[in-house]
């Protein structure tokens, strides 16, 4: 943490003109890093981005990663992490951190759960133990974890979802957001470790325009330092998701960062950036890597495919990452077939490098006011090859 830095600031540094005039570049100043947006945040669910070290994330260029409040609460527990000096120090991560609120996990991972006015009672997916999350307890957990950015406790409605249920979940989310805000203010907007934290509100509303707009207005009225768009990437198709983003962004304050939670594929990110989103997180590059799927400029490929058995070229011929400079598809395929830990390691490093480079390309394109041209060129190359692979898959 650099104590001479303002605790939290966001500045829009470039704006696209024309039909995509809403896309922008920004600079996010946090206690542990300064981050250029649009930014992709790797997911470090259990205090580690799976298979990688903090040094590697820094080497790739990441300065802001995500931790999951639900998982860290269950194991090793926020009390232990607080005694370690917070999640940064516990995990050896020098950069900035964002923790989610656990809302998504409580509603998607746990079995038995009871939603009450006060919060949610749920059972751990690890050992069945009973826990309660309330807006106040979630804020306390996140204070102990000590991330630079913390998230309000929300209810993520499933998809599809009846409008009545979506409204009920939305209103609960708004009441909880106000309580999170209150708890956050009362705690001096600081982590247990003493440094400042920024609390982002989460908008919901499923795919219903009236609910999305109501949510954006309600959250904006609470004046958060940043806003997330939640409840998407849960099964809806891309045009519906784009609509929900547009409805929400239109009513969020221009000068605050906008974070689309859990998104997504390169195409999804390009769609959302064009609609004004600044921040993203997704398990796709890391989870797919562990299943041998790597992203390339010519589309994703699965390294287990027989056609790579003697492909001695790099994972992605257009990539200059440490892995692509040294290792071949044939070698990586062998590692996956032989269940070598190095397989997921190499694929994860490359995939996060690919995402980082994609975001850098997006930022450059916005600054040069050619985002749409960038998007078309990227997707034309990316999508053709996906089809090629589907036609020749034999593995």
């Amino acid at each position: 943490m650099a104590p001479d830095r303002p605790p939290f600031a966001f500045t829009v540094t470039a704006r696209a003109s024309g039909p995509h005039g809403i896309a922008r570049c920004g600079r996010l100043t946090l206690p542990h890093a300064v981050v250029e947006t649009p930014v992709f945040m790797p997911v470090g669910t259990q205090a580690a981005v799976k298979a990688l070290t903090p040094e590697e994330l820094t080497e790739i260029g990441y300065a802001l990663i995500l931790g999951n409040t639900y998982h860290l609460h269950l194991r090793p527990g926020e009390a232990l992490i607080a005694r370690a000096g917070g999640l940064h120090r516990f995990s050896g991560w020098d950069g900035a951190l964002l923790t989610d609120s656990g809302g998504y996990q409580v509603f998607s991972l746990t079995g038995l759960r009871r939603i009450g006015a006060d919060g949610v009672q749920f059972q751990s997916h690890i050992d069945g133990s009973r826990h309660v999350f309330t807006p106040e307890s979630v804020m306390q957990v996140q204070r102990d974890l000590g991330a630079d950015i913390v998230m309000a406790f929300d209810e993520c409605a499933p998809y599809p979802c009846a409008p009545e249920y979506a409204r009920e979940a939305l209103e609960r989310t708004h009441r909880w957001a106000a309580r999170c805000r209150e708890a956050y203010d009362q705690a001096g907007r600081r982590a247990t470790g003493g440094w400042p934290q920024a609390l982002f509100g989460i908008t919901q509303g499923s795919i219903f325009r009236d609910l999305r707009e109501e949510s954006a207005r309600a959250l904006a009225a609470l004046d958060f330092p940043g806003y997330a768009i939640g409840g998407l990437a849960v099964g809806e198709d891309a045009p519906l998701r784009c609509d929900a983003i547009v409805w929400t962004v239109a009513l969020l304050p221009f000068e605050k960062p906008r974070y689309l939670m859990g998104v997504g594929t390169p195409a999804d990110i390009l769609d959302a950036v064009a609609r004004g989103v600044d921040m993203f997180d997704c398990v796709l590059p890391t989870r797919n890597a562990r299943n041998a799927q790597v992203f390339t400029a010519r589309g994703p490929i699965n390294l287990r495919n027989l056609r790579f058995a003697e492909d001695f070229g790099p994972l992605d011929p257009e990539c200059d990452c440490r892995v692509c400079r040294r290792h071949s598809r044939a070698y990586a395929r062998h590692l996956f077939r032989a269940n070598e830990i190095l397989g997921p390691r190499l694929a994860t490093y490359h995939n996060l490098y690919f995402y980082h480079r994609l975001m850098a390309g997006i930022r450059d394109a916005i600054r040069a006011d050619r985002l749409e041209a960038f998007r078309e060129a990227f997707l034309q190359q990316y999508r053709r090859s996906e089809e090629e692979e589907q036609n020749s898959d034999e593995a």
Copy 2:
């Protein structure tokens, strides 16, 4: 490969005096590296040292690692590796390589096997497929893999073992050694890739002095560039192993490197170095790491132990490796409990660093003619704590 380097050379550079006058330092010149001995070689069974990248091995200081002929023959096969340009290029490893002969694996890992005069028929432990290893075929596999040092095909007798069986296995090993030597000479002592290879003979003889001496004499007569001591670390106790080393080393030529296969713990290595051994390999540091056991100056510890839950100090307080400088026992314990790949990664890196530093300490001690003092100081600290842990283990 540096073409201006002599293909293979070994020079004794320092000798201890006194009761341990037989210990020595040496310099091993190979096509892909110059290596100071006594040296420990990490095991890269399936074309990878489990969990680590080639860059990390180089960073720690390793310049010579081992690959397993049996495993690589089964998957991905030596033909594919030859087409990739050999095992160095296939695995992205710039340093030197040694491949074993597969003898140990054929006799220990496979189910059904038939030993004939010509070789061994066995079934793959992966898919049950049938294969035959003969001295000639094993030399061909190792030519295709292209390691800097290749090993003669041998029969590793089990322990305990009747003297009659040990003699039979020994005589077969000697006949096979002569055939390996013949095949090696006929192939121009070169890898399929064109660079020179050094063929080491393997002595056997279980724990019987007459057989060990007969084996050392028989192999020495075949004039190999180096000699291994095989058939140890198979269950015999340390004094018996030390005897077998002494009997063998006494009859091996002074000016050739001596390689004790599959050994071992720090104490085992110290014992063997004092008796004139130059080279070691063992899965202990890497395999134990994956089971959360890390080596420390005060003995091995298991990171899963409850007493490390809030131990925010480094894995080994006396270690300055990349892992110990950044990560705590509490964090590493959390990673193992949460089944994070990063756990085995960090433990493997540290353990191989520990072994590398141990060997550097041994070499310095020999040069300063204080090996026995080094050994005593190391073991006094190392062993006391092992007992402490055993007394307090609760995990």
